[in-house]
Symmetry: C2
């Protein structure tokens, strides 16, 4: 009577691995400390299974145990994997410097993100501040796809089928405000089709515009620009949108220029790094 796979769509993956990763995913900003019991609740897994899997995750260095609290936290290895993501992203390698320059030039925030399930994840978010000391770069932060310009630009960029799946999940998520919300999302997507970008003021006092980056052979990204502490008007959105479109064009050019011919790729690979 094996309780049929709860999470995940359904295909035949490795169950233990799926579950282990799902345990890691239970940790997120705001939920930084979890005991086995709490993990069991949140994931719906049997308590004994959770016990065994967390033990393994500690052994492989992804969690560490806070004995006195009988809880676990994400360990340093997870952070270094995250660092590897950034170092390994060819897109960020090209766009990072451009984005930093553009942020300074236009005096606004510039961000690059891609999707993880129903969230957008910043590969890099450059927070502009007049005082150079207070400028900052954030990576890995998540924002909800359906509510942000970033997410809606992304939705406009992906294949129809994938978008439908996601829209269905949003409907399920906030059953209440659904109708209006989905309409908003659709409107933003049409805006991207029409103008190349969409403008959304998700958080009060912040106006953000975003555009998808769709290039053959690459995952789909979204690029955004935003400003704080302003009243968002149609006109301001259009102005930032103009900057964004101009910048996105340069980005796409840089990407296709820098990207080596895929057929050549395999020949340059594999520079061994000894056992480190």
């Amino acid at each position: 009577m094996a309780s049929a796979r709860q999470y995940s769509g359904g295909a035949n993956g490795n169950r233990s691995l799926e579950r282990g990763i799902e345990i890691l995913r239970a940790f997120r900003p705001g939920v930084d400390t979890l005991g086995n019991g709490e993990i069991a609740e949140r994931t719906g897994l049997p308590r004994s299974t959770v016990s065994r899997l967390t033990k393994t995750l500690v052994e492989v260095g992804m969690l560490y145990e806070v004995r006195i609290e009988r809880t676990y936290r994400l360990a340093a290895a997870v952070l270094s994997l995250g660092h590897a993501v950034r170092m390994g992203s060819p897109v960020l390698k090209v766009l990072g410097p451009l984005m930093r320059a553009e942020s300074t030039r236009r005096r606004l925030n510039v961000g690059l993100a891609t999707a993880d399930r129903t969230m957008m994840v910043y590969l890099e978010s450059i927070r502009y501040n007049p005082r150079p000391t207070l400028r900052s770069i954030v990576a890995g932060q998540q924002v909800p796809m359906e509510l942000t310009s970033l997410g809606r630009a992304y939705l406009a960029g992906i294949p129809d089928k994938a978008r439908d799946t996601l829209l269905a999940q949003f409907r399920r998520r906030n059953a209440a405000a659904t109708k209006a919300l989905i309409a908003e999302v659709q409107k933003s997507i049409r805006a991207v089709r029409r103008d190349g970008y969409c403008a959304v003021s998700w958080q009060p006092g912040v106006l953000a515009v975003a555009t998808p980056i769709v290039l053959e052979g690459l995952p789909i990204y979204a690029l955004n620009m935003s400003m704080q502490d302003i009243e968002s008007t149609e006109a301001l959105g259009a102005e930032i949108g103009k900057y964004l479109m101009e910048f996105a064009a340069r980005c796409k050019e840089a990407l296709s220029g820098s990207r080596p011919d895929p057929t050549l790729l395999r020949h340059q690979q594999s520079q061994e790094l000894a056992s480190i």
Copy 2:
């Protein structure tokens, strides 16, 4: 004739999960693109097993497939987990602001790290630069434990047994220069015992000093300060070391001050954050 567990010490963890994580770990800065074949080689796992596990890792969002190359890369979900580590670290929450201020005040690099196996992982590394625009903060970067002040300070801070295990691994790692290297490590450890810190010039033109942060109920960290483009002298090391010891004292105070009584902890936990 199941090939006895290759990696990991040996205890009885969940095999598939261990293997899946080991596949993720095969990706690191410098190795950002791997095909199933290459993963099989590097991990020593059978090709068919790798095929299945990478498939699962794609399903759960930890890898994505670059079809045209028939390879995989780490996906955005990994990065957001990394972000969760930083956001969830109570130590970084307290020390981050102090470190930034200290970097500006002393005009040098300040870093906080902890261990992952035989590597030190920066929770935060603040790179000082006279031009504020060029200052940067890095997280997740790895440096070898046995070669850096950070790593040796850490070694000085951990229990004897753990240190012995690690030293044995270093011996295995660089069989050649072992004797001299181990002696160097021991010397640094004695320096920590005597002066509170050790100074190492791992990379030419960079002088680094580090000290362990050992507090009841917390994992063991190491704090470092470093300067670039200088000739490292005994005197300079002593000076930076003095700054470091003074700063570390303030850090420890801040940590024990901010840390709530462990026995009270469980009562404040669990502020639900809905499904986001």
